[in-house]
Symmetry: C2
Subunit: 438 residues, 2 copies
């Protein structure tokens, strides 16, 4: 037996810049879970980690301890390969909704635990709940059984999953210790690795609408995620994608759900589909379902063309209690009282569509949460968004605003008017998918 580790002594080790041992990290994570470390000790440690950093080995130990702080899903009864995808969050990022059934249609199970929207980014669970009746709160057993039966489940984080992460994340949020690569990495992977997937892909976004504003920080996180997951025995790749303008043409819960259904029917916007295919290809490659990117791409396109992906989506909606009729008749999804066009005052090229302005407009309309306890309005948001670089005529619709209140409508209109710039010159777009790491 080792001697007890006093929190203040473990804190002092990191404070002085040394690497923590696996045992020291475990004592902190256990302390976060059972309360034997006080909140003020955890937050002092988080600040010390923020300012002193962590080695990859420490980050692995932290991720592992956080993952083991709660239940680790047992998907051993699920036959065949299992893959999951994570996004660091962006504006209009609805990729999980249609990518998961596309992958399942290719024979790879997708056990996916997602989050809710907070701040300027939307959450996969909120988008799913725009389908009447859809349940995201399955027990771990129901979840495992559904993955085994139909090959996919999209659920919310259970209270049994990585409780240490919930405690530490809540503290980071109010102590200025959010933006730190080892802590972000451990938070993401502790949950993702507890889900039971064999391989992982991550979409790490950078730009004005992303948590990480610059490419270098995003690349550092992507590399850390891939390194840590691999050291923990899970093959992983990460793609770096630009998030200066929203992804796709819709932002808002039911509106994004409609765009995802479009994607499953072969009518998705080019940028949404590009990110979808790149992520899907890596998932099929890592699970060895495909040998080349071309083969993987062909399989994914076939799953859309032959209706298999849409069928998987229907099975999931049915299994999780959602009204499956809303897939074919999207008028069954919540709709806002007003749908009002924002018209361009001039012709020209769309110079920029600021993701943050669009996100704030959607938040203002009620599509998101400023605080965790806020309620989301599934109906509202923005659709038919123009894309940067598009040529438009005079009087063109820049976006449709879906609102349930006049003040909200006026505010959103002002935010969008400021956020969408139309000018003379043609615009050269940087690549959407910047790099594949791993």
């Amino acid at each position: 037996m080792s001697s007890p580790l006093f929190p203040q002594h473990v804190i002092a080790i990191k404070r002085d810049g040394a690497a923590l041992t696996r045992e020291e990290i475990q004592s902190m994570v256990r302390g976060a879970t059972d309360g034997s470390w006080a909140d003020y000790q955890l937050s002092a440690m988080l600040m010390a980690i923020f300012l002193r950093g962590m080695t990859i080995e420490e980050t692995v130990a932290l991720t592992d301890a956080m993952m083991r702080s709660g239940e680790v899903a047992d998907l051993s009864r699920v036959k065949g390969p299992k893959a999951d995808k994570h996004s660091t969050g962006g504006v209009g990022d609805k990729v999980s909704l249609h990518l998961a059934p596309m992958i399942a249609a290719c024979g790879v199970a997708v056990p996916m635990i997602s989050g809710r929207g907070l701040g300027h980014t939307g959450g996969t669970l909120d988008k799913l709940e725009s389908i009447p009746g859809f349940r995201v709160n399955l027990s771990t057993d129901e979840y495992a059984a559904q993955v085994g039966r139909i090959g996919l489940a999209l659920i919310g984080q259970t209270s049994q999953l990585a409780p240490a992460d919930r405690k530490l994340y809540a503290l980071r949020d109010v102590t200025g210790t959010v933006e730190n690569t080892p802590l972000i990495c451990a938070s993401i992977l502790s949950k993702k690795l507890a889900e039971g997937a064999d391989v992982l892909v991550a979409d790490v976004k950078f730009g004005r609408g992303a948590f990480m504003k610059d490419k270098a920080t995003a690349r550092e996180l992507a590399q850390t995620l891939v390194s840590v997951a691999r050291l923990m025995g899970t093959p992983m790749r990460a793609i770096l994608t630009a998030m200066d303008q929203p992804l796709g043409r819709t932002v808002g819960n039911a509106l994004e759900m409609i765009e995802s259904i479009d994607c499953l029917q072969g009518r998705g916007p080019a940028d949404t589909m590009e990110v979808t295919f790149v992520l899907g290809q890596e998932m099929l490659l890592l699970t060895r379902i495909a040998k080349t990117r071309e083969e993987a791409r062909a399989r994914l396109e076939a799953a859309i063309a032959n209706g298999a992906a849409l069928k998987k989506f229907r099975e999931m909606v049915t299994a999780q209690g959602g009204d499956v009729r809303a897939i074919d008749d999207t008028s069954r999804l919540p709709a806002a009282k007003w749908s009002v066009p924002l018209v361009s005052p001039r012709a020209g090229f769309v110079q920029s569509v600021d993701a943050m302005s669009v996100a704030l407009a959607a938040l203002h309309l009620g599509a998101g949460r400023a605080k965790a306890e806020d309620r989301v309005d599934h109906a509202v948001g923005v659709s038919q968004l123009v894309k940067t670089g598009e040529r438009i005529g005079p009087g063109a619709v820049l976006a449709m605003i879906h609102a349930n209140g006049e003040a909200a409508l006026a505010g959103a209109r002002a935010l969008l008017t400021g956020g969408i710039v139309v000018g003379e010159g043609a615009v050269a777009l940087p690549p959407l998918v910047e790099e594949i790491i791993g």
Copy 2:
């Protein structure tokens, strides 16, 4: 009106290495006092300050805000100059007990608020309480009245004094953020400046028995204390003193009280008196009672020789409810069951008397506190300690151990045996008072 300062935003400013404004520092200190900053936010900020540092201007703002977090004593009715002394804490440091009446006997009032012992250092209050009946818990009004009437009072920290310091100190103690110069400086001065003294001196100790092990750290603290006090309008000097061996020949509460009474009667050990005179000289110089160090020294010696200092001490003991007979008959002070000599196995020169070993022996005997809630045994400790450099014959007494339990006695004997080294060669002692700063 300024906008509200969210704790996490203020924390992030220091986290990123910038200097905090006076307003930002005030918001944190107000938050520590009224609870509007959570403990976990305060501790994250303390760690950020620990790792990023503070400028002198920030330290002044922090000290000022902490001082104003509670009552500031009004000694305006006390005529004449007022001086106080602080020690960073050492082993056997009983200087306050006899220096305060010496200074009062020279016509300078001494409003002194002291602390209790914790860890390896003793506390002035515990030593005073070895006098039967002595009360250290006066109200601020009683305290001010006594300083006005007899020129001195030695009391404990009231709950009204610098409450922000109590909160922050308690957090620092359990979050690994104690050893930081700006935080130590603000903690010391916020209390000392709230006492109402016109001038301050500090004894900043370094060495094996001090909080600061090395001279450079001690000098940095001394310079910071002097700079911050002066910027706040209070003339201050600090002396750097060595604390490798205990100060004087006694360690333990009643035993140190006896040594202090000896000092007041002109029979104090040379090293205790050297520190006493150097501090006293600076107090008389800063208050302009004396023009030169020689004059100051002569006044202090006269106050002992003519009995004025001992008379002041009697007045204070009487005023604070203590049994004044114990001053002339120290057998009225608590005495331990056993007083046992530790005998040297050999003749030679005392090579070293390790202050930390002696402190741990005293702690083991029950003279101190390992935890704040521990009770102190006033009777126990060590007396007749040899001093480094002394020549001793075979069978000489290295120390007398005063114990109230057999196991405690055996433990203390082992610690002292390990801590007192006797060898062949003569020993050259470094200076006790290293430097006067300010």
